[in-house]
């Protein structure tokens, strides 16, 4: 990654080693592991103080419901980030998958969902193959595919909104089990599955190894390229799933449905405490990060802060967290 380039100028920040800034590193290190929880508690406390509505069951369910889609996408992004890569195309895959699902509804409920997921597979495969074969920068490549898929989505919809026609389709987005939306349960189940995969399967182990040291992983016989391509595919599939859920919830879809979700998913992962440099992290941490985002959004709505302000807050928090991470990581 670009980290490698920095090592060539190692002495660049000797002042970080000793002197008055040294304590900052200590604070950073302590904070990083528990960032999400610190943020959750802080914001949660603030919110419950400033608003009566915050701690009601209905509101809490609202929070969970709102983050289900971004949560699913963030899980996919987590896998890639652990392995040392990124996927900036998830936003357009989300929209595109929704469109495919609606457009192929006449083939039946199951087929249209499968086709939408297939769309994710294809985009993920393209991403993965280009990044691994050409050893190209994953940010830029996926930004390119993002643009391309978006164009396809625009072509398919002619910039219009498509409406879902099968009532059964809406279960994913609008159904509930008891008080809890199906979408939320789906998210939590996927998070649990991912956690198990990461901790207890060979595949998960490979992801951490590759994220930490690609060359050493290769020399241990790990099929690095194959693992990376499959991870890109999984990430896109999860983005597609998110798109299906969102379409199902709104009963409709547009080409730019996923606007901003690429950055949001990365923020969620980072907020959870996973390092952008790869090699560490977990599904649980990402769930925490997604929760923080949800609480943040909810709080700003309850307090009447305009929607646009969220961008600023999220961006600032992102920079703060990444900054802490960088201070700790880079010598």
């Amino acid at each position: 990654m670009k980290a490698i380039r920095r090592e060539r100028g190692q002495e660049a920040r000797p002042w970080l080693k000793e002197g008055s800034w040294g304590w900052l590193r200590g604070v950073a290190r302590a904070a990083r592991g528990n960032i999400a929880f610190i943020l959750l508690i802080t914001i949660g406390l603030l919110a419950s103080l400033l608003s009566d509505v915050f701690l009601t069951p209905q509101n809490l369910v609202n929070i969970l419901s709102a983050i289900a889609v971004i949560g699913i996408i963030s899980l996919g992004q987590t896998m890639l980030i652990i392995a040392g890569n990124f996927d900036m195309s998830v936003a357009s895959v989300l929209g595109f998958a929704g469109i495919v699902a609606v457009a192929t509804q006449r083939f039946g409920l199951l087929p249209c969902i499968l086709l939408a997921l297939l769309a994710g597979v294809i985009v993920g495969a393209v991403n993965g193959l280009i990044v691994t074969r050409a050893k190209a920068n994953p940010f830029l490549v996926t930004l390119g595919t993002q643009s391309f898929v978006y164009a396809i989505a625009l072509m398919a919809t002619q910039s219009k909104t498509l409406y879902s026609e099968i009532p059964a389709f809406n279960i994913l987005g609008q159904g509930r089990i008891g008080r809890i939306p199906v979408a939320v349960i789906l998210f939590l189940v996927l998070a649990l599955m991912l956690q198990i995969v990461l901790r207890n399967t060979v595949y998960g182990r490979y992801l951490y190894a590759i994220g930490q040291n690609k060359e050493a992983a290769r020399l241990a016989g790990i099929p690095v390229d194959r693992v990376l391509v499959s991870t890109f595919i999984l990430c896109s599939v999860l983005a597609a799933l998110g798109g299906i859920v969102m379409t199902s919830r709104l009963n409709s879809t547009v080409a730019n449905a996923g606007f901003g979700f690429d950055f949001e998913s990365i923020i969620a992962v980072v907020l959870g405490g996973t390092s952008l440099f790869g090699g560490s992290g977990s599904a649980l941490l990402t769930v925490a990060g997604v929760l923080v985002l949800g609480v943040l959004n909810n709080t700003t709505i309850l307090l009447g802060v305009p929607y646009e302000g969220q961008f600023v807050v999220k961006g600032a928090v992102f920079l703060a967290v990444v900054g802490l991470d960088s201070l700790v990581k880079r010598r």
Binding site: M1, K2, A3, R5, R6, R8, G9, E11, A12, R13, L16, I130, A134, K135, A136, N137, F139, L140, V141, L143, G144, T145, Q146, S147, F148, Y150, A151, I152, L154, M155, F263, I266, L276, P306, E308, G309, Q310, F311, V312, V313, K314, G315, A316, F318, L319, V322, G323, S326, L327, K329, R330
Partner: protein, 321 residues
């Protein structure tokens, strides 16, 4: 002649696009080469061209700046909204904003050590948020009629933005080729270790390009606002991709140490011609977006292959030693 051929050979994609130029000329000669159209293209490419020059300097130093699009739109918004206080104030504020974002980007990268892509991704989001808040998502119309001369006017046959692009290009060329600081930027991007051992201040030359890039983006925003006499929230979304593609096609590399004013201008021109040609041929916008995306990916992939080959060759030679 030899040097020109070598220059082109190293930029395969650029050559391909120049071939496209030939194709368009043949297909739509009368319109394509008309004075009106040429002036149009010149004007259109100038906006991205100015930003691309800024981006090129950042790339040469080994970094990357994707916040340029957001800065562009915020600068445009500032220019329009502050007009009541005087055009000079408005433009000044916009440029100052670009400078400030550049400084922040530079500090994030050098003092905190955040990788450039991540840092500018973050600042892009913040600036986008600021822009949306500031404009309340509404377009802002302008009031001062004469202000549009910068964006929409021409000096003889040459559009004003193009003149400004030329000025920026001349400055950039002088800076990068004739001053110590410019050559130092090539050094810190091409081989930071060598630069360090030569006593060059790495942080400074990693920092300066971001400031320049921020100002360029703001300048372009001012000009664009002047052209449209309004600012909307849709401008600048495509910008980072376009300027990156243009710079890399023109010879810059994501790894740093390479890039040139001439190459970037050619890259911008090529992309501009492509868009213009496609417009004239009636190619639908959506297809254009797709084609541009493919070009970006192709450019990045080719750059990757090229730099990987150099690195492997260098490693093999080092091993033999």
């Amino acid at each position: 002649m030899d040097r020109l051929l070598g220059f082109l050979a190293r930029r395969a994609v650029l050559s391909i696009l120049l071939v496209l130029f030939a194709v368009f000329t043949v297909l739509q000669r009368s319109i394509f080469l008309s004075e009106q159209n040429v002036a149009n293209v010149a004007r259109q490419v100038s906006f991205n061209g100015i930003i691309a020059l800024g981006e090129t300097v950042v790339l040469i130093s080994g970094g990357i700046d994707i916040s340029v699009g957001a800065v562009l739109s915020m600068a445009a918004a500032l220019t329009m909204k502050l007009q009541p206080f005087g055009v000079g104030v408005a433009v000044g504020a916009a440029l100052l904003f670009g400078l400030a974002v550049g400084v922040i980007n530079g500090l994030l990268v050098t003092k905190i050590g955040i990788p450039p892509f991540v840092a500018t991704l973050g600042s892009m989001t913040v600036v986008q948020g600021l822009m949306l808040t500031y404009t309340q998502q509404q377009p802002i119309p302008g009031h001062v009629e004469w202000f549009t001369v910068f964006g929409a006017g021409s000096l003889g046959p040459v559009p004003m933005p193009t003149l400004i692009l030329a000025a920026v290009a001349v400055f950039c060329y002088w800076w990068l080729n004739q001053t110590r600081s410019g050559r130092n930027i090539y050094a810190v991007g091409g081989n930071p270790e060598a630069a360090r051992l030569a006593g060059i201040d790495l942080d400074l030359y990693w920092f300066l390009p971001y400031v320049f890039s921020g100002v360029c983006a703001a300048l372009s925003g001012v000009l664009l606002a002047s052209l449209l006499n309004t600012s909307t929230i849709h401008i600048g979304l495509d910008t980072p991709l376009a300027v990156l593609a243009a710079s890399i096609m023109g010879g810059a590399s994501l790894l740093g140490g390479r890039g040139s004013v001439g190459g970037t201008l050619l890259g911008v021109l090529a992309l501009g011609m492509l868009s213009n040609g496609m417009d004239l041929l009636g190619v639908f916008t959506y297809y254009q977006i797709a084609i541009r995306a493919v070009i970006l990916v192709a450019v990045v992939v080719i750059d990757s292959f090229y730099t990987n080959r150099i690195q492997t060759r260098a490693r093999r030679q080092a091993h033999a030693a």
